[in-house]
């Protein structure tokens, strides 16, 4: 008990932080329809920023020192992988299209919410029973987009439509936040609601610790990352930042069926991951590594090449080129409904971003030559 209270004292997170995290995670925020999540996020961050705006497609930005000419971005993405209603049969079953990289292999028998014109409608991914499935052994039918369907209880197309469900309605999974033993959190859409949470906590810590920054800090929660980094692409052009610090999730590669020779060696609980990649600015990465060393924050390295698969690419190659760095939090079971991460990594990633922001100035030398 004494040990537990000591651990709690050392935490940089407050009870209100956790309340925000749970609300934010449990709220659906599918790609292209992120507004309700953005409202929760902006409401939380507003006491810690000087001004804010939302761009035409819904990317939310909180600004500290909006009048400073030198601009630093800390960024996460707000959207969540989901499905679109694509076709309704005469029997009232619903076929789908992906909205982002949602995983067909985990879909059978999942509970979902269809966001229709008349509000949320519960449904399930139907799947034939083990007794009745056609085929067997290795030839057993595998789930794929073309054979996955939703069952709402409606038995005709009209009954489906009477529920307010239409072609183009988005579908999200039902599972929300939960805790496991030994400091692990699980939930749907930790990717990248945890990023939005962490950048909001950086803003909170700056305000509560009365830190003054020599530049404008833009806390960006971008939309539409999961379908091609589009929100970041738009907002990078609008803000035209001088430096960008991106946070997203990365794969814990220590679970079965992952090849470390290909994916590298990253584990939950061992600190944030820093990526080497052409889009990642070497000098800025060195600044972050120095900050991590000075503050005794553990980090794990990985390599990426042509693409980081994150908003880092959009910021780095925006405008005339923006020095960008990627700070990732290790995550197990990405793009499933049980995305799992460790709370120590959450705190260390927040600390690393916070200390990096404090270490930066308009005079920080980032020139390659």
């Amino acid at each position: 008990m004494a040990k537990k209270s000591k651990e709690k004292q050392k935490s940089i997170l407050k009870d209100s932080s956790y309340t925000f995290l749970k609300n934010y995670l449990n709220n659906p925020s599918p790609v292209g329809f992120e507004s309700s999540g953005q409202k929760i996020w902006l409401d939380y961050i507003k006491p810690y920023i000087d001004s804010s705006f939302v761009d035409p497609y819904g990317t939310a930005v909180g600004i500290i020192n909006p009048d400073e000419p030198f601009k630093v971005v800390i960024e996460a993405h707000a959207d969540e992988i989901s499905w679109f209603v694509n076709y309704i049969t005469n029997d009232g079953l619903i076929y789908l299209k992906r909205n982002g990289g949602v995983d067909h292999q985990i879909a059978p028998a999942k509970r979902v919410i269809i966001h229709g014109k008349k509000g949320a409608v519960k449904a399930v991914f139907g799947w034939p029973a083990i007794h009745t499935r056609i085929g067997g052994g290795e030839k057993e039918t595998q789930p794929k987009v073309e054979n996955l369907f939703l069952d709402t209880g409606a038995r005709s197309k009209k009954e489906v439509e009477d529920l307010g469900i239409h072609i183009g309605a988005v579908v999200t999974y039902e599972e929300g936040f939960d805790e496991l033993a030994y400091g692990y959190y699980i939930g749907r859409a930790m990717d990248n609601r945890i990023g939005g949470f962490m950048i909001a906590e950086v803003a909170r810590l700056l305000k509560e610790n009365k830190k003054k920054l020599p530049f404008g800090l833009y806390v960006v929660n971008a939309v539409q990352e999961e379908i091609g980094l589009r929100g970041a692409e738009m907002i990078a052009r609008r803000i035209k930042p001088d430096v960008a610090i991106i946070t997203d999730v990365t794969h814990d590669t220590t679970t079965p069926m992952i090849n470390k020779i290909i994916e590298g060696d990253i584990a939950c609980g061992k600190g944030p991951s820093l990526a080497y990649a052409p889009a990642v600015h070497n000098k800025l990465l060195q600044v972050v590594q120095d900050v991590a060393a000075e503050n005794k924050i553990p980090v794990q390295l990985r390599t990426l090449s042509r693409s980081t698969g994150t908003d880092t690419d959009s910021f780095a190659y925006a405008n005339d080129g923006c020095p960008s760095v990627l700070i990732s939090i290790p995550l197990r079971y990405m793009h499933t409904t049980v995305e799992m991460l460790h709370k120590n990594d959450v705190e260390n990633t927040i600390k690393l971003m916070y200390e990096t922001v404090l270490a930066l100035s308009p005079k920080t030398k980032l020139s390659y030559l």
């Binding site: 982002g100 379908i227 091609g228 980094l229 997203d248 693409s307 980081t308 698969g309 994150t310 990405m334």
Partner: protein, 57 residues
């Protein structure tokens, strides 16, 4: 005399059956591979995953 011509001893008979079975299967597999090659050469149906966009983190 006629009966003698129809006689095939057991050793030669099973050998002949093996040769015929191998020939039939060999031809079948050759054409299966050839048809698959022709299909892929002329842009036959790709896997679903090939058509889908890159999955971001």
């Amino acid at each position: 005399m006629l009966n003698n011509l129809l006689y095939i001893d057991p050793g030669s008979g099973s050998y002949l059956v093996q040769v015929i079975a191998a020939a039939v299967l060999g031809v079948a597999f050759y054409f299966k591979t050839f048809v698959a090659w022709v299909k892929s050469f002329f842009g036959g149906k790709k896997n679903v995953s090939d058509k889908e966009e890159k999955i971001n983190e």
